[in-house]
């Protein structure tokens, strides 16, 4: 009985000392978070249907349906990006600029990319507010888009 308790305590202590995976502590995010609101009453739009959401010069389509908010990837080898939100009636454009910093958070993880100083360069949405100019997991929303 005593030996079994000792082994149990040993196992618990080994599990307790198990290090948190370093990479999970990296605070940087590779996606900006955009949320959509109705310009008339500033109420969050719950479901948006697009024909496509595409970044400029890329054969990619990120979304056809967005529920309240969406994650948009930034290009780490550039400092500007434009998205086109296609609908049946019109296309919305959103151009952003940002700075990039690369570093090793830990040599056992992929290099970390810090996106910061996010700014709206051009848009035909009614209003776009940058509420978090750094892509960080602690910052829940980066852009509030009103139309």
């Amino acid at each position: 009985m005593k030996t079994r308790n000792l082994v149990l305590i040993l196992l618990i202590s080994i599990w307790g000392c198990n290090e948190i995976e370093q990479c999970q502590l990296d605070p940087n995010s590779e996606f900006l978070v955009g949320t959509f609101y109705n310009i008339k009453d500033s109420v969050a739009r719950d479901t948006l249907v697009f024909n496509a959401v595409v970044p400029s010069n890329q054969p990619l389509n990120f979304y056809d349906t967005i529920i309240f908010g969406a994650f948009f990837p930034l290009n780490p080898t550039d400092t500007t990006i434009s998205y086109t939100f296609m609908t049946d009636s019109m296309d919305y454009q959103l151009s952003l600029s940002y700075d990039v910093l690369y570093y090793l958070f830990s040599p056992d993880c992929d290099p970390s990319i810090r996106y910061f100083d996010l700014k709206v360069v051009e848009t035909n949405f009614d209003s776009v507010a940058v509420v978090g100019d750094v892509l960080d997991l602690q910052i829940p929303i980066n852009l509030e888009i009103y139309f």
Binding site: Y102, L104, P111
Partner: protein, 228 residues
């Protein structure tokens, strides 16, 4: 302009260490009886040390870390003036989909004092200070495998920084002119780096960038040339 609590602690630590070294030196001098004639009390020598740990890395982990480090010293009675030079290349990410390389040189200069002035067998126990400076290049190549198919390839060259070191060491003669010993370094007060896009991970001569203080260790084999 304002000193932080941490800076004050470090300054207090440096001040205490200097006081300790001075008081120990004074103790060593007060213990020295007039056994030797005044004319024979001055000894001057030159010493060249080579760091065996750096050389060992070239043999055992040449792909990850390579370089060398030499130390030249002028020995004047119990006082030493050290000039140190080294080069270091670090490569990381060989088992991942990135390659990070830091490559550069470093210099250190500073005094030390031997607290075992009267040891007759060449035994030395030293305390000292160093001013150190490092200049290096670093580069990153990273296949992000993201939706854009981005491959990052970036270099930042001629990065430089400086710091101070508190050192202590022991060495002994293992032959008529050959000495062997170690130096432990506590590296403090590193100047922050100005990086545009790539923050370095490894700083040659210092260690990791994200550590404001580092501890270093050298194991030297030296050649002693008496001058007087």
């Amino acid at each position: 302009m304002f000193l932080t609590f941490k800076s004050l602690s470090i300054l207090r630590y440096i001040f205490s260490t200097i006081l300790l070294v001075i008081s120990l030196a004074g103790l060593a001098q007060s213990q020295a009886p007039d056994l030797m004639p005044e004319a024979d009390s001055t000894s001057i020598a030159f010493r060249l040390n080579v760091d065996f740990i750096s050389l060992g890395r070239n043999v055992f982990v040449p792909a990850q870390k390579s370089g060398f480090e030499v130390q030249t010293s002028i020995l004047f009675n119990q006082f030493r003036l050290h000039f140190e030079y080294g080069a270091q290349r670090m490569e990381r990410g060989t088992n991942y989909n990135y390659t990070y390389i830091s490559n550069g040189q470093f210099l250190r200069i500073g005094p030390a004092i031997n607290l075992l002035k009267n040891a007759t067998d060449g035994l030395e126990m030293t305390f000292g200070l160093r001013y150190a400076q490092s200049t290096f290049d670093n580069s990153l190549r990273y296949d992000t495998q993201d939706v854009f198919g981005s491959v990052i390839s970036i270099e930042e060259n001629n990065q430089n920084t400086r710091w101070m070191e508190l050192t202590t060491g022991l060495s002994a003669k293992i032959g008529k002119r050959i000495t062997m010993g170690y130096t432990v370094r506590y590296k403090i007060q590193r100047k922050p780096l100005n990086s545009d896009q790539l923050l370095p991970y490894d700083i040659p001569g210092f260690g990791r960038r994200d550590d404001s203080n580092e501890v270093g260790f050298n194991y030297y084999i030296g050649w002693l040339i008496p001058l007087k």
